[in-house]
Amino acid sequence: MTLPEFKDYADANVDFHDPESLFALGEQLSMLGNNRDFLSNFMADFIHQHVKMDVLKSTISQSITIAKGRGYYMRANFWLPEADMTESEAYLFAYHQAHDHNFEMLSYTYCGSGYRTELWTYDYEKVKGHVGEVVDINPLGLHHFECGDVLLYRCNQDIHIQRPPDTPSITLNVIPTQNHLGLRDQYFFNIPDVDSTQGVITHHATSNIEARRTLFQLAGLVKSPAVVTALSDVATSYDCGRSRFEALKALAKCSPEVHSDVCHQLRDDRTPIVKHYLSTVGL
């Protein structure tokens, strides 16, 4: 199958809000994977386009987007054995770090040995989402994601650790873009071993929520009425619980008085992470 054919099929047949429908696309993804030329052709075009391009005119993230469709995009990811990585490449790879995804992701190993991955599941709804939180997890063992395998990583259900492959490898991902309106977090965990039944949230992945956190952290350094009002506004009512939590933390820094008032105002709030925060300040 060619890439345009795959895209046409996905546009016409897949409901990207339905994980089952996404998983069924794995068959066509395998057919695309049998096309051993499409990705090298794509890379050749990319290289020709970018080799002389002014860097200020190009935008790139840590993986290559190879197609965009209605409600989804496709990317190619490169995986290197640890011994083959340069300093620059080491910054791109999240090996050995347990994490979930805040989006559904259909994945296919296109070439190479593929990476090994340890897998767990967890219940997102039971998690408050703060750093240091102990989370119950269900171990699923070690899996070798070999060339030709298709895997569906479920949004905020599946946790995995990627280990470097034996040989350079490429995976293809299909990712719905709905992304829950920028309201779902993505976590990194400390999980001692493959059979562990508990993990600890160590940090959060780059996301809209994380961008808000860093903005609020910056705001916490600016002790002005306008900033205090804006932070109070978010802390008292916002769809994202963690953003409210981060706004409260920032408010504590820039106005302890207003922070105290807001905390008292929120003492009956039912949002789990807000309740957790209030418990840490004695409410």
Binding site: I47, V51, T86, S88, E89, L92, Q217, S224, A230
Partner: protein
């Protein structure tokens, strides 16, 4: 973007941004004095509170954080202006070169440590390059410091968080270098642009799995500005077709970067011995 204040402040702010936008791309250090005047007109509180309220209006809005400690408030075609916070009580080790020339306007006091770069050419890694400590000095709120990234590194410390307004060139130096703090020894360099890393990765993958049809695009990479990209391309060509690979390494042997030309010459020598 920050809300303009009424009256003469509005004119000063707009005039400065206009003049930057109309100027050809150049080092921002030439605008240090004007930036200091502009910075006095910016209401940081207003900028930050407005960005928070944009996030509040819709969770789909991505806060304009260029990095975990930098809020972008204006971007031109070749420059950007950010509010940047630093919160370190001690000097960071290793020291890292600045990604581009930057003018800092200090909104709060700080201690500034300065390191002069010697034997440093960003595009050519030189293990003998050094970051030599020049001294410490106190910085007051309202001070402006212009940093030429090819010449120095500055490091800021304070027991309280430091807030700055920073004008930077958007065109980054090709590489970031790390220097060990106590003796200033050059430790490593790595790409400032993830695009460069991505092209190196593509070259590696093509070298592993692609056929001769990929050689033309890899040969095109031999013309890239980055020596690390050129090297990966030559190596990939060698893996696909040794004869074309030898030609690629002959090209690298003529490089003006001595570590590239030496390594390429050694590679050719080894290949020659291997075929004899």
């Amino acid at each position: 973007m920050g809300q303009a204040l009424p009256g003469p402040f509005f004119d000063a702010m707009n005039n400065f941004l206009q003049s930057l936008g109309d100027s050809p791309e150049q080092s921002v250090v030439h605008f240090a004095a004007d930036f200091q005047q502009y910075a006095k007109t910016v209401s940081i509180e207003e900028v930050i509170s407005k960005e928070i309220l944009r996030c509040k209006a819709t969770s789909r809005h991505t806060a304009a954080m260029r990095s975990p400690n930098a809020l972008n408030i204006h971007s031109g075609s070749w420059f950007c202006i950010d509010v940047i916070a630093y919160g370190d009580a001690q000097l960071i080790d290793p020291l890292t070169t600045h990604p581009s020339d930057t003018v800092f306007y200090f909104l709060s006091p700080a201690n500034l440590s300065s390191f002069k770069l010697e034997g440093y050419d960003n595009g050519v890694f030189n293990p003998a390059a050094r970051a030599v400590f020049q001294g410490n000095r106190p910085i007051s709120a309202g001070d402006v410091v212009a940093v030429q990234s090819s010449e120095e590194i500055i490091s800021l410390t304070s027991s309280e968080p430091i807030l700055t307004l920073a004008l930077s060139n958007r065109r980054l130096n090709r590489f970031a270098w790390d220097f060990e703090l106590s003796q200033g020894i050059a430790l490593r360099h790595y790409n400032n642009y993830s695009l460069s890393t991505m092209m190196e990765l593509m070259a590696k993958m093509l070298g592993c799995y692609a056929g001769e049809s990929s050689i033309p695009c890899l040969q095109a990479m031999l013309e890239h500005d980055s020596d690390t990209i050129k090297w990966q391309a030559a190596y990939a060509i060698m893996r696909i077709d040794p004869r074309s690979g030898i030609e690629a390494f002959k090209q690298l042997a003529a490089s003006t970067n001595p570590s590239v030309s030496r390594s390429a010459a050694l590679t050719l020598e080894k290949l020659q011995h291997a075929t004899v």
